[in-house]
Amino acid sequence: MSAEAATGAGREPAIRVQGMEKSYKELHVLKGVDLEVARGSIFALLGSNGAGKTTMVRILSTLLRPDAGTATVNGFDVTADAQRVRESISLTGQFAAVDEVLTGRENLILVAKLRHLKDPGTVADDLLARFDLVDAGPRKAGTYSGGMRRRLDIAMSLIGNPPIIFLDEPTTGLDPEARIEVWQVVAELAKQGTTVLLTTQYLDEAEQLADRIAILHQGRIIVNGTLAELKALLPPAKVEYVEKQPSLEDIFLTLVGTNGKGGKDTNDGSGKSSPVTTESSKEQS
């Protein structure tokens, strides 16, 4: 049934939002948002606190009804066809949604059962291995570190292979190492064809991960494009030579030895050491 639904909706973008509005009493949070997310892409919704990112995600994941406008996810309308939308998505909310009393493995089994999968135990074991949680599997999730909890949280969201995943500020409150771990997971997901819509307030996160970036500001999308398109909106980059001081993050990551993790680290390094634009040089002085 769901396979048929997926092909029927195949030509549609994964997510299409038109004229969406939402208010909480007096507070007009979304004032007419339009956006489209292509299948298999990573789309970052960038905005400061209170810009309406979470409201968007809550509407798209059927937790909230929009006041006006339409939204389809995987070709299904979020209000009229909420159950079909829920079959197509997975939500990883702002606060890790794990059951702290259950063990990591039990958390995964719980979700596998609620997704009505055949062999919940095997599903759980596979994900524990994939997310480097095998040793932690039999421990209560309440004892996990922030990063482990987030990994478990995302692992729970992958159960049943939903074609579209929402990540609401997936790295807020994580230490730099855990953040990089989450980035790796997200990149991995997109490689397998999952559509990812993530919200973030970190510019570098959007830069690292996203195929397209939209900036949500005061309830409207003010910019929407690829990173290159967004950069083109700024005055052309001037080449300046600025002595590059290691950031505290670089120092931290070197000291705790994350550079042992191979390819990832060189990526980060090259991103940082490229000629800096006037804006980022301002940041460093």
């Binding site: 937790l63 829920r86 890790a96 949604a97 059951d99 702290e100 609620l114």
Partner: protein, 253 residues
């Protein structure tokens, strides 16, 4: 009703039952206060209370059981509130599951937990000299009334859990429920009370429920008490269920 309602409810009931198994102190705490009350009333105050019947522990037990349930259901509100505070509630709501299964999981867990607490209290009462010659049918009738009472109060607890703003608020609603048996026929015959108090005691739900259970255990005719008791339970249950579902729908849409 979703095709997965029963399966999803079973899975979610299993989840919250394992919460209880991992912190059995919630069941112990639920049973300790009524047991302490029972000890105090039987061994301290009981000598001075004339109920016109033989054993005071026999007289007292039905009311104590209702107090046990009234304090036990506070944990349902508490657990539901914690689910909503954490992200797990939203995770469930964004999944393709039967939506009311989330509530039913907590309600069935409440039923099991209260059954265990009530059994503990009855065991202690037996040690204190409680005796009943009631047959299987009478015990089943008692179990039935207590089950209806638990369900009715649990759905009240669901309303409290869904609409509470703080953890304290989630469980505070149960205090009046725990207090209600004191102004009923649970501890002393209502004939000893002054006019208005007596009127209240005789017309509130606890008195017919207590009287029906007491008569069943004492092998005496239950008269109309049992029907009034059931009417109260079913009435509260229907109202509480309706309000809880309406609150839930407001919460999730």
């Amino acid at each position: 009703m979703s095709k997965h309602f029963f399966g999803d409810t079973a899975v979610l009931t299993g989840r919250s039952l394992s919460h209880i198994l991992r912190s059995p102190d919630t069941i112990i705490t639920t049973a300790v206060t009524p047991i302490a009350l029972m000890l105090m009333f039987v061994y301290v105050l009981g000598g001075a209370i004339n109920t016109g019947t033989g054993s005071y522990v026999n007289y007292l037990l039905p009311g104590i059981l209702l107090i046990t349930i009234a304090s036990g259901i506070a944990y349902t509100a508490y657990r539901l509130f914690l689910d909503m505070q954490g992200g797990i509630f939203e995770r469930f709501q964004s999944m393709p599951i039967a939506r009311s299964a989330v509530l039913w999981g907590h309600v069935l867990t409440s039923l099991v937990a209260n059954l265990v607490s009530v059994t503990l209290v009855v065991l202690v009462a037996l040690l204190m000299g409680f005796r009943s010659g009631a047959g299987v049918l009478a015990w089943l009738a008692v179990a039935g009334i207590l089950t209806m009472f638990t369900l009715a109060l649990t759905w009240l607890a669901v309303i409290a859990g869904l609409s509470a703003k703080t953890v304290d608020g989630a469980s505070a609603f149960s205090y009046p429920l725990i207090f209600l048996p004191f102004v009923s026929s649970a501890f002393v015959p209502t004939e000893t009370m002054p006019g208005p108090v007596r009127w209240f005691a005789e017309n509130q739900p606890v008195t017919p429920i207590v009287d029906a259970i007491r008569s069943l255990l004492a092998q005496q005719p239950v008269g109309t008490d049992i029907w009034i008791a059931l009417a109260w339970c079913i009435g509260i249950l229907a109202l509480a269920y309706g309000f809880a579902m309406a609150t839930y729908r407001r919460k999730i849409s």
